[in-house]
């Protein structure tokens, strides 16, 4: 009894407050003061602590409103009480269980870590606090959760609690340990600051026993609790601390991580050599069972503790309680081995049942034991999903394979699926998005083509049909027609140049002089008057308005005479006589009389080989015309 009290004596009450201040100031998660045990020389054990980390539930038993400082202090107190209630296993069954204000399922991982730390004991020179004390130098540990267990024995614990940084420095005969869930790089000034804060309110290190006891007994339902019992129920662990604590989760899946960690922990525990497996796992089992059955009362816990109190190990290497403890220790060890065997056995049972040892089939229980899997367990809240901007099409590659690629084979062109999407307008927008530039250029090209075809249609006369093929056909025909005409006209021009056209005007006297002009005039006029319908080549018609006119044109031995004169009786006979004298054989005569003017068109051929000159023919006709 005295030892327990003495142990408490060395730690001043205000140290707690100072720790609280310090850790709050630097905003770290917890602060622990490891003090040299009075019961066991050369051993560091839990002195005082303050928890400043995440809290899961705020189970306020008191009705009194407290401010944040007091609440936090109370929290740390409650954690301490919980620890003590849990470790109180050896008291007689009749004794009332101390019902702590907190129950294990209220705790976050970090709180559990803090709580389990209370059970730790370090030899001087061993463990982080031990080494700090022996060296007298501060130790700053980054990535505590990944640290080697030889360096930082509680690294696995820290991993579960996400404690990433742990710092120890010697202080007033003990070691102050600070920890935080963030990664903080070494900063000696921080240590200095904490030291200053701790020394800020120096008070004589004289314990007030009553206060201590009261502090501990706060909120206990059973005031008769002997602090000594509690103290002696601390289960120290010597050597390497290779424990892992598990926190009961709210989800029923909480079973799984516990057991898996338990598996790993057991294995490591056995490998740990001198370490003795603590009973936490058993308690945690029960807690998890409680959680699983969603019982939240502390009574449940107490009952289970009562059931398993035998199992609580109080194995100490060297202590004076004698054989009893050793037996218990052995018992614990055995049961722990059994537990591990149980799991393996169950694993085998499942494998035999399902005829497979594949982790998928065996169920989520053994999932995490398969450390090699690339997959990780699904979390309700999900992993932090990449906040990538989803402006691209969904299922882009899949759509391309299904929609685009088949059409690539279509005539070897990368045509847009738009042309084939007339039936399925639903996914047209996606197709557009996929094709992008192709669609636009294709569409433009088609529009241009259609436009030009319309123009063609309008140029070609007599085109009724509107489809592209017909438009093209009609245009081809029209083009060919035009080409023929152009060819004809061109050859007509040539033959005109060959043919001599002579004309006589009514003004006979001026014949010679005018002839040239007139003939050229007539020629010019002849070209102006080319009638399309008349395909007679070499046909020259004069539209001169004067009477008494003779026009001769020659074509292939055929003479064409056009003659106008005032009509009189018998004139036609005279013309015929004159022509026959000139050896002309008339085979076609057209005559008409209008307004007293006779118009004669005579086609004649030469009789024989002699060719009458144009001159005498004209003269003869003129003579006839002028006779009257």
């Amino acid at each position: 009894m005295s030892t327990g009290v003495q142990h408490q004596e060395r730690v001043p009450m205000n140290l707690k407050k100072q720790l609280a201040l310090a850790v709050r100031n630097i905003q770290w998660s917890y602060a622990i003061f490891w003090s040299i045990s009075t019961r066991q020389p050369g051993v560091l054990e839990w002195g005082e602590g303050y928890y400043n980390g995440d809290i899961k539930t705020r189970k306020t038993v008191q009705s009194v409103e407290l401010n944040t400082d007091q609440l936090s202090l109370q929290r740390s107190e409650q954690l301490r009480q919980l620890y003590e209630s849990l470790s109180a296993g050896e008291s007689s069954p009749q004794a009332k269980r101390p019902s702590a204000a907190l129950s294990p399922e209220d705790l976050t991982d970090t709180e559990w870590y803090y709580l389990v730390c209370m059970s730790f004991v370090f030899n001087i020179g061993q463990g982080l606090p031990g080494r700090t004390l022996s060296s007298g130098q501060p130790v700053w540990l980054c990535n505590a959760h990944c640290a080697d267990s030889k360096v930082f024995g509680r690294s696995l614990l820290a991993k579960s609690a996400s404690i990433q940084t742990a710092v120890c420095f010697p202080f007033s005969g003990g070691v102050v340990e600070l920890g935080v869930t963030d990664l903080v790089f070494e900063d000696l000034s921080l240590i200095q600051r904490v030291k200053t804060l701790l020394l800020d309110d120096p008070q004589p290190i004289v314990s007030k026993r009553s206060i201590q006891v009261d502090g501990m007994n706060n909120d206990l339902a059973c005031p008769a609790l002997d602090p000594l019992i509690l103290a002696t129920k601390l289960s120290p662990i010597l050597g390497c601390e290779q424990l892992e604590t598990v926190s009961p989760d709210d989800s029923p899946d909480g079973l799984e991580p516990k057991q898996s960690r338990e598996d790993s922990l057991l294995i490591e525990g056995i490998n740990g050599g001198a370490s003795q497996v603590q009973s936490w796992q058993f308690m945690d089992e029960e807690f998890s069972n409680c959680v699983h059955h969603s019982l939240n009362s502390s009574d449940c816990i107490s009952q289970t503790i009562a059931d398993h109190r035998k199992v609580v190990p109080l194995c100490r290497g060297e202590n004076d309680n004698g054989l009893q403890d050793v037996e218990e220790c052995n018992q614990t060890k055995l049961t722990s081995f059994d537990r591990q065997n149980d799991d393996r056995h169950f694993h085998e049972v499942l494998s035999a049942l399902f005829k497979s040892s594949h982790p998928l089939i065996l169920g989520p229980q053994f999932r995490n034991s398969n450390k090699e899997s690339s997959f990780i367990r699904w979390q309700k809240n999900g992993l932090v999903k990449p906040q990538k901007e989803r402006d691209e099409t969904p299922q882009k590659l899949l759509k391309k394979i299904l929609f685009l690629v088949p059409h690539m084979h279509d005539r070897g062109l990368i045509e847009s699926p738009e042309t084939n999407a007339v039936r399925d307008a639903a996914w047209r927008p996606e197709a557009d998005e996929i094709c992008g530039n192709h669609v636009l250029s294709e569409r433009k090209r088609r529009e241009k083509i259609n436009e030009r075809l319309m123009m063609l249609k309008s140029l070609v006369p007599a085109n009724n049909k509107a489809d592209k093929v017909s438009i093209l056909d009609v245009t081809i025909e029209y083009l060919q027609t035009l080409e023929r005409r152009v060819a004809e006209l061109e050859s007509c021009r040539k033959s005109e140049a060959r043919t001599k056209i002579e004309r006589t005007s009514d003004n006979y006297g001026n014949n010679k002089t005018n002839n040239g002009k007139k003939s050229s005039l007539s020629k010019r006029k002849a070209y102006d008057v080319v009638d399309e319908a008349d395909q007679e080549i070499g046909y020259v018609a004069s539209k001169d308005g004067s009477t008494d006119k003779v026009t001769l044109s020659m074509n292939n031995k055929e003479l064409l005479i056009e003659f106008k004169c005032p009509w009189r009786e018998g004139i036609l006979l005279e013309v015929m006589d004159a022509l026959s004298i000139l050896n002309l054989d008339c085979h076609s005569v057209q005559s008409s009389t209008t307004e007293g003017i006779l118009s004669l068109t005579i086609k004649s051929k030469y009789k024989g080989s002699s060719v009458a000159k144009a001159g005498p023919i004209e003269q003869a006709l003129q003579r006839i015309a002028s006779k009257c």
């Binding site: 999932r367 997959f375 979390q379 590659l397 899949l398 299904l402 279509d410 996914w427």
Partner: protein, 345 residues
């Protein structure tokens, strides 16, 4: 949540990655062990280049050393991207014979068969159904019947499905399967297959009765195409399909048409590929644009909030392809951008 990120960092060592020179889409795992080493797994990768020249490469994977080995000679050109690649399932590799060749089928414009030997790939046949012109309707997908290995069913954009007898290299039958383009086809057993199409329906066909087909599911919004189909080969009651632009994997029980058994809706973006587990009848894996591959276990009774996946893997890119081969039930192959990754289950 911090725990999970830590774990995933640790576990990324367990996935094996192969980086290809081009974007990969089509992928196939061989069911025949490689002749050189009985444990090696052959994988065929088809490129996706929007060009005429595309390539199919064969690489082999060693599960013990977790490494890939490329075979430069085992490659061939393919006109336009191959839409699907598949090795012949359950190919009896004659252990006595030295030449242990594998048969690989590819679809694109035609169904082509290739013989994969130790140091070369020889084209076997080009199966072309069109009698009139060289132009044949391009194929979107195909499935190799594992009960009857000489039978391959292909799906095409001309709304038909063609069943080929590849030993005789003739068409067994050609059915007009849907009103619109058929996007995927899957064999149930020797004479029964199912197909999905742009008209949004899943239909089952029996070769014994070609006149009739059964619609077992239609997408709720009419005319929303169903893009992929997977039939659970371990438990033929169940099929899975994915809709266009949907993040749901629809699980169907063929005994109760039109109503899906479950809709797995935990992807954050649309799903690209699905594959049933080859060793268990209850597990399915899906991968999508949210860069995640999820493994689900189908319970007998679903909870009120829907079914949660068992586990998840984040790739970092949109995952386009997923293959879970019976030859390697411990490994899931995924493809994203130009990488192939093998994940240990």
């Amino acid at each position: 949540m911090e725990n999970s990120t830590q774990e995933s960092h640790l576990r990324s060592d367990n996935s094996v990655t192969y980086e290809s020179a081009y974007t990969v889409y089509a992928m196939a795992l061989s069911s025949t062990p490689s002749s050189t080493n009985i444990n090696h797994q052959r994988i065929a990768l088809g490129s996706f280049l929007e060009d005429y020249t595309n390539r199919v490469d064969i690489i082999s994977f060693d599960p013990e050393t977790l490494s890939f080995k490329t075979h430069p000679k085992l490659a061939f050109d393919h006109p336009y991207p191959p839409t699907k690649l598949m090795f012949q399932p359950n190919r009896k590799s004659a252990s006595s014979s030295s030449s242990c060749s594998d048969l690989l089928a590819s679809t694109g414009d035609f169904l082509r068969l290739w013989e994969v030997r130790e140091s070369s790939i020889e084209p076997v046949t080009v199966l072309n159904n069109s009698k009139t012109s060289e132009f044949c309707a391009p194929l979107t997908s195909f499935d190799w019947n594992d009960v009857e290995p000489k039978r391959i069913g292909t799906s095409s954009i001309d709304t038909t499905c063609t069943i080929w007898d590849i030993e005789k290299c003739v068409v067994e039958t050609q059915l007009i399967a849907h009103d619109k383009e058929v996007y995927d086809i899957a064999w149930g057993e020797a004479r029964v297959f199912a197909s999905v199409s742009a008209d949004g329906s899943v239909r089952i066909f029996d070769l014994r009765d070609k006149e009739h087909s059964t619609i077992i599911y239609e997408s709720p919004q009419p005319d929303t195409p169903l893009l992929r189909l997977a039939w659970n080969k371990q438990d033929l009651k169940y099929m899975a399909t994915i809709q266009m632009d949907s993040n749901k994997v629809v699980i169907l029980d063929i005994r109760s048409p039109t109503t899906p058994v479950a809709e797995l809706e935990r992807h954050h973006a649309s799903v690209n590929a699905i594959a049933w587990a080859p060793q268990s009848c209850k597990h399915i894996c899906s991968a999508g644009d949210d860069t995640q591959a999820l493994i689900w276990e189908l319970p007998t009774v679903a909870g009120p909030n829907g079914i949660d996946p068992l586990c998840v893997y984040s790739a970092g890119y949109e995952i386009n392809q997923l293959q879970w081969s019976a030859a390697q039930p411990d490994w899931i192959a995924i493809a994203f951008s130009n990488k192939l990754q093998l994940l240990k289950v």
